[in-house]
Amino acid sequence: MSDSTFDADGITLEQVREYVWEIPQEGDMRTPARVLASEALLEEIKEDKTLQQLKNTTHLPGITKHAICMPDGHQGYGFPVGGVGALDAENGCISPGAVGYDINCGVRMMKTNLTYDDLKGRETELVDSLFANVPSGLGGGGIVESGVDTVDEILARGVDWALENSYAVEDDLRHCEDEGTREEADPSKISQKAKDRGKNQIGSLGSGNHFLEVQRVTDVFHDEVGSAYGLEKDQIVVLIHCGSRGLGHQTCNDYLRKIEKQHQGLLNTLPDKELAAAPAGSQLAEDYYGAMNAAINFAWVNRQLIMHRTREVFERVFDQSWEDMEMDLLYDVAHNIAKKEVHDVDGEKRELYVHRKGATRAFPAGHPEVPKAYRDVGQPVIIPGSMGTGSYVLRGGENSMELTFGSTAHGAGRLMSRTQAKSEYWGGDVQDELEEQDQIYVKAQSGATVAEEAPGVYKDVDEVVRISDELGIGDKVARTFPVCNIKG
């Protein structure tokens, strides 16, 4: 252990090595906690309750090695956003609160063979058409209006349902984690209330930080991996960020309440009720795992439908078929998820529920769970920045299995509260500035959302990615810059 320490207003972090900080185990903590950050990022992380929430996470039974905060970490509810916690799947627990409300909130990137020059001059037409055709905001409906029977099919089959109904092609499945279907999904474990919320929202962005963004590739840092991913400078790509909508939110709350009623003893040992967990092996743990996997399928279909609609919009705007524009899925990554995974812990293979809350799986080259298309180079990791800064494509780094249970950051990470953002920014001004200074065309249902998501409310995504790259948990492959952005 190095002598260097960082004092975060009462919580002392000891430096393990460059960019790795540890909060030593004390009191009822079952393990130490770790933060992966530069000192500049730590200065921001210490400003809210992130570190206390990270310490609280180490109280969960079965927590293995340490609870970890990624470089983009910030305060959430219960578990910090940017948190990774691996809980023993035999003797530990699974925590709906630590997965979060928006189960399988995530990001997918679709490529095109268009260049920025092909798009220039048509930004307004494109952003207007996307905004008119991709449902967003509250009460905007979905791409598919359906009954509960369809919801059940989607929950059970994921993107396979989309394939059968002509919303996907085989190639989309080959470029999605688990081929877009969690086989352990059990739709019967999702409540009627959750299904009722979901049936009007299949294929919709929602609001808050969710968006659809057309981007141009500005840099390719790694030629070999860039080529394997099919990314080139000046290429147009589309990034879609959303999750499981009301169905996922309701499922999380349904299970928090069930745990409160059935596992009060465990709950009473935890410092924050929002960490509510079901003991591994209990009926409720099995039920939640089946429900969560079903909600994961729902979120994948949600993003698939939005991608399908985006292909149709591009066909109309550019008067070419989407196949001719090579609008192929690069990859789809989940940000809020708990997955049973086998990891090497002190030389022993152990099955763990790896909770990633605002964190991305980042498996390296050679890992058997990386889709065949990317197994030689490592899985793509997509890190969205704010609507005024770049986003990144990384690849799973070779140190990720040892340092982070195969995980890295998920975005820039918020810096400023929504209430403060609204007092500092005006949506209309933010939109005008982005268009005039950076040629970024933004269209939103609500001006307040634009203010709440202004570029200044986020951390420096470049610094977050630099730390991921330096630690070798997610290596920089390419950078993109926004062209058109629609949001709720």
Partner: protein, 149 residues
Amino acid sequence: MTPHQGQRFELREHTADIAVEAAGNTLEDVFAAVAEGLAAASCDETPDASGDRFSLSVTAESREALLFDYLDDLIYLRDVRVELPVDHRVETISHSDDADETACWTLEASARGVPLAEIDAREVKAVTYSEMRLERVDDEWEAYVVFDV
């Protein structure tokens, strides 16, 4: 969306989400004040007369669980009715000592549902238990609730 006499709320800072701090003369008042805070977090301005009133009733095993389930129900009803519930009235909160312990707190409330198509509303995803506080301080009730946005 001005709270009724005896109720008040403030939206509080939270890095990613939003918190409502509320107070009221009675338990009914503080529940309604938190619900008004939820509406305010969803929409800056709502029309005064639009939409019809609807009733809801909630049962739960404790006071805090009742507050959680009430707010959870309002968010559920927003999605399925496609209306933002505003002008909240909590008519009664009753507690039965000898009832089944799993559901001994009951609430009867109503709200006006403003069609989402008529307003510029943002999505509050869910109520959370994180840092939740509901307590009697001197002569009034206070509550603090974090919502996931």
